[in-house]
């Protein structure tokens, strides 16, 4: 998740990382991680606190003053067998959501020109 400031709305955080802000903390599927109350101010969430609580890397580019918040460390990239939400575009920029293929078997084939 690319950031130009270190606080985000809960909606943006959830859209980009899948972690939802609830009264009990940050939640994803069945898991909730408590977040200190001080980490939320005026409807925005402190990204440093999120990164620390969830074990996410936060890297910075000094020249452009941008951050990238990476995914949480985990024993398994696939924490369940359910295909995560994947939305990509074709060569003309038309978006395509892989979940639109429910009902068919799907083979995803990653390749590259290089």
């Amino acid at each position: 998740m690319i950031l130009d400031r270190l606080d985000v709305t809960p909606e943006e955080l959830e859209r980009q990382t899948g972690w939802e802000l609830k009264p009990e903390g940050l939640c994803k599927e069945a898991r909730c991680v408590p977040l200190p109350a001080a980490a939320t101010t005026d409807g925005r969430v402190d990204v440093r606190a999120v990164a620390e609580r969830l074990g996410m890397p936060l890297v910075h580019d000094d020249r452009y003053d941008l951050w990238a918040l990476g995914p949480e460390s985990t024993d398994r990239v696939l924490e369940s067998a359910e295909l995560p939400p994947i939305r990509l575009a074709d060569v003309d920029g038309r978006p395509f959501d892989l979940s639109s293929l429910r009902g068919e078997k799907v083979l995803i084939a990653a390749w590259a020109s290089w």
Binding site: G70, L78, K105, L107, A109
Partner: protein, 237 residues
């Protein structure tokens, strides 16, 4: 290139209930465009200019496939998809290359020939079996087994993904030079990720992915260090 094979397989298996989605892990859409436009494929052909599939699925090289059933459940996590029937032992360096390039290309081909190749006929037979039998196919894994076989994401890999994301963001914003330190950091943090390395090398050394002032490694040096026989994880079918 595997696109024509996917197109052929799709025309055969789509009536049986299989859709194929090809995803090009290419920072530059235009690098993938001509391959895609020439493929004549009727299935979705997407481009992942941020290599998000690496993070979402645990992909580290191409070609890699993932099988997903009708309910959106993965039944085969990322694996080296071998569908090409190509005689790699017959690969030869083109004639007329300058001497230093010729030597480099010959060394690369020597490594290419050492990369283990899996049996395409066996792979395609397994795919047909799953398309026909679904969960009853011996090649469809249970959810627990899919999770068990999934790659791990230690903090170094998570950080590599953040660095690559920052790098691709700057690259796409036109800051090509300023993207490179972030790509280099991603390479250092997750050396086993060939998609991060090869795409970055290709942009500074097209065709050869050779040594440059911008990156610490290059394809030939890195594959020698890693061992060509470990370029792809063994296909466990």
């Amino acid at each position: 290139m595997s696109l024509p094979v996917w197109r052929q397989l799709r025309s055969e298996l789509h009536p049986e209930g299989l859709e194929i989605v090809t995803v090009a892990l290419d920072l530059e859409v235009d690098a993938a465009r001509s391959w895609i436009e020439r493929s004549g494929a009727e299935h979705p052909q997407l481009v992942d200019t941020a290599h998000k599939l690496d993070e979402l699925l645990g992909i580290v090289n191409v070609p890699t496939a993932v099988w997903v059933d009708e309910d959106g459940m993965i039944v085969r996590p990322p694996h080296a998809a071998s569908v090409e029937r190509y005689d790699w032992s017959k690969l030869k360096a083109p004639e007329g290359l300058p001497e230093d390039i010729d030597r480099h290309v010959r060394d690369m081909l020597e490594q290419v020939k050492r990369i283990p190749r899996f049996d395409a006929d066996h792979y395609v037979a397994a795919l047909r079996d799953w398309v026909e039998k679904g969960a009853a196919s011996e090649f469809a894994l249970t959810p627990d087994e899919v999770v068990r076989r999934s790659a791990s994401r230690p903090s170094s890999v998570a950080e590599a993904e953040a660095e690559f994301e920052l790098g691709q963001h700057l690259h796409h914003a036109g800051h090509v030079d300023d993207a490179r330190p972030h790509f280099r950091a991603a390479h250092r943090l997750q050396p086993e990720n060939w998609t991060y390395k090869r795409n970055a090398w290709e942009l500074v050394s097209p065709g050869l992915q050779g040594p440059s002032e911008h990156y610490d490694g290059d394809w030939l040096t890195d594959i020698k260090a890693a061992g060509a026989e470990r370029y792809y994880a063994p296909l466990d079918f």
